[in-house]
């Protein structure tokens, strides 16, 4: 219990840091982002909305601590202001409409990469120096040297433009309305395959090498020798005895990546014009939509922190040693 409370305190501090960062950035940066933004959207804003935005971004004359208290109160009550590029939709609504796509893309890619990568790692460690163990790691390291967005664009060019197997952009075809129909789901699935595969390709190496290294250590344990001496089937030893005990670091890594699903797919979403929060973040930056930018950053941070906290709780369940200390 103390462990959990300590971690909770840490995450609250981390969240407070990111809120404060958000508060300070527009106020202390050289230049004046706020007036640029006002110039862009002057025609379509009501006076009271301009007033609210001024408060949010700190273009008022009140003392700074008063602004800060106000800002904290707004964030805690979920009031993140109004988006400029999608005026007059509130920031929270814009984020809510997009986060689903990000979760779908990032979640699918993460599950596939983790499952396949861990399996490959188990096999590589089981047959040390075998085909999987000697051929795959160097190949994956080489692939990992390329910039991710470059690989993604190459894949888009090859499979989208030349071969025409994959749609070029967006999460579903124009003219379709999101609905639970077979037509829509299969269309969304077709748009999902290539972006998800590119993420799997670059992230699978980390899963495989991590699992392989822990598994090699586990294979040297006495209970493995014992299981072999008893004459158990190799498959049973491999999965139920060795892999099961080597899963712990992978479980932690899975939880941490779960948090980065929300923010990590930014480049993927940009390359494939996939309508998630990362793509929206870049659009907000290009459109000088500061309220939306800040709201997205806070949402992404909150997701990362929440996922990490859940992992900590899960860790207490999985590993008795944490409970004891």
């Amino acid at each position: 219990m103390r462990f959990i409370l300590r971690r909770l305190g840490f995450y609250l501090i981390a969240f407070w840091v990111s809120i404060t960062l958000n508060f300070l950035l527009p106020r202390f940066m050289p230049g004046d982002p706020v007036s640029r933004m006002f110039a862009r959207s002057a025609g379509q804003m009501q006076p009271e909305q301009i007033e609210a935005l001024r408060k949010l971004l700190g273009v008022d004359d009140r003392p700074i601590w008063e602004q800060y208290a106000d800002y904290l109160y707004n964030i805690v009550t979920g009031n993140m202001g109004v988006s400029i590029t999608r005026f007059p939709t509130p920031v929270t609504e814009v984020i809510a409409s997009q986060i689903g796509w990000t979760l779908l893309l990032g979640g699918t890619a993460l599950v596939i990469a983790a499952v396949v990568g861990n399996l490959l790692g188990i096999l590589a460690a089981w047959r040390r120096g075998g085909a999987i163990d000697s051929a795959l790691p160097p190949l994956l390291v080489f692939i990992g040297s390329f910039p991710y967005f470059w690989l993604a664009m190459g894949a888009l060019y090859l499979f989208g433009v030349i071969l025409g197997w994959s749609p070029l952009r967006h999460a579903f075809s124009d003219g379709l309305e999101p609905a639970f129909t077979w037509e829509f789901i299969s269309d969304a699935g077709a748009h999902l395959v290539l972006p998800a595969l590119t993420i799997v390709l670059v992230s699978i190496g980390g899963w495989m090498l991590g699992m392989r290294n822990t598994m090699i250590a586990t294979n040297a344990e006495d209970y493995i020798t014992m299981a072999e001496a008893k004459g158990l089937k190799p498959g049973r030893i491999m999965f139920r005895y060795a892999a099961r005990n080597a899963m712990l670091p992978s479980a932690t890594a899975f939880g941490m990546s779960l948090g980065f699903v929300v923010g990590g797919a930014l480049l993927t979403e940009v390359v494939f014009a996939y309508p998630g929060v990362g793509y929206q973040l870049l659009n907000a930056v290009q459109g000088l939509d500061y309220p939306l930018m800040q709201g997205l950053f806070l949402t992404i941070t909150a997701a990362v922190l929440l996922a990490n906290f859940l992992v900590d709780i899960l860790y207490v369940r999985l590993d008795p040693r944490v409970r004891a200390s």
Partner: protein, 340 residues
């Protein structure tokens, strides 16, 4: 523990010798030179010579160094090889690779070969600067954490962990959006988001050295804090500092390219990331001009691969377990996995 400060630290402290400390501290002569592994002179202890010698005879390190040197030479010679402004717009638009333009031209008629070679300058400069700067910050934070302990360690670790947890790419994007565009901004932003990882790795290594007897001896004999940190502890973690440095340079080059690809760098400079940004912007792939798009990406990959090769070589030289695959299986080295 630092209340007693020795008045003249240089010569008198040579009495306190650490078993494997830097040659500078071990030598009876006046301590000169930086505590870099390169200064291993005659009385140098064996392990340090081993690192340099091991790297020179390691094929991976030599291949990596060769690739890296080629790119550095290209970057330095760029104004000689391709004089004039590489981003000058001409009327020879979208030409395929030919004898005259080895890598073809862009939609704006710029020679891709010239763009790529000139791009090496900015990319390597930013990558190296970011790498050295974030390693330096990491060394300072890690050493201070490990040496002073207690409250300072708690506070520094908290800051490090918060920075590690904040999502890197979105933070990069937000920072780049608020700061005025320019090369300095790119470097600053990459250091802000990149130092925390190296600080954590270096802190854990420094902690384990901090608990060694020779450090305790140095403390008791009244050496100054700075001297203990940089002359006693730091030289003993040279290999992990080197690994961190290489990883930071890889990070710097890749992150700069990503940032510029998103259009958040300084779009007026010529660099590999900006080349790719313009390639995407001009729809190079959609019109089939693959030659605009391929070279810069391959260059980034080659540099990253070369640095990774050197990094593996450092690992192999300093960690005998990794030298032979068929060696006896051992539990994973916690420091090694932390460094990844």
């Amino acid at each position: 523990m630092t209340t007693y400060i020795h008045p003249s630290p240089s010569a008198a402290d040579a009495v306190v010798e650490s078993p494997t400390a830097a040659p500078a501290t071990g030598a009876p002569a006046p301590a000169t030179g930086a505590p870099a592994p390169g200064v291993a002179s005659a009385p140098a202890p064996k392990p340090r010579q081993g690192l340099i010698h091991g790297l020179l005879t390691n094929p991976k390190a030599m291949v990596g160094a060769a690739i890296l040197l080629v790119f550095i030479a290209l970057a330095l010679l760029a104004p000689v090889l391709f004089p004039g402004d590489p981003s000058r717009i001409t009327d020879m638009a979208s030409l395929e690779p030919s004898a005259e333009h080895w890598l073809g031209t862009t939609a704006k008629g710029q020679d891709v070969m010239a763009l790529t070679v000139h791009g090496a300058r900015s990319s390597l400069l930013v990558g190296l600067t970011v790498g050295f700067a974030s390693t330096l910050v990491g060394i300072l934070v890690g050493l201070a954490s490990a040496y002073f302990g207690k409250f300072i360690d708690e506070a520094l670790s908290l800051i490090t962990n918060v920075f590690l947890l904040l999502p890197g790419l979105p933070l990069l994007v937000i920072l780049a959006a608020f700061l005025p565009p320019g090369l300095g901004t790119v470097i600053l932003v990459l250091i802000v988001t990149g130092w925390a990882g190296s600080a954590r790795v270096l802190r854990s290594q420094a902690l384990s050295i901090r608990s060694k007897d020779f450090v305790a001896a140095a403390v008791v004999s009244g050496e100054r804090a700075g001297r203990i940190m940089f002359r006693e502890i730091l030289p003993n973690m040279a290999s992990i500092v080197m690994g961190t440095l290489l990883a930071c340079v890889i990070y710097g080059i890749g992150a700069q390219a990503g940032l510029e690809f998103l259009g958040l760098g300084d779009v007026s400079t010529v660099s590999w990331g900006n080349n790719l940004f313009w390639a995407g912007n001009e729809g190079a792939l959609m019109t089939g001009s693959w030659w605009v798009f391929v070279p810069s990406g391959v260059c980034i990959a080659l540099v990253a691969f070369a640095l990774a090769l050197i990094n593996y070589a450092v690992d192999e030289v300093t960690n005998p377990r990794l030298r032979k695959i068929k060696a006896a299986v051992t539990p994973a080295n916690p420091e090694r996995s932390a460094a990844k």
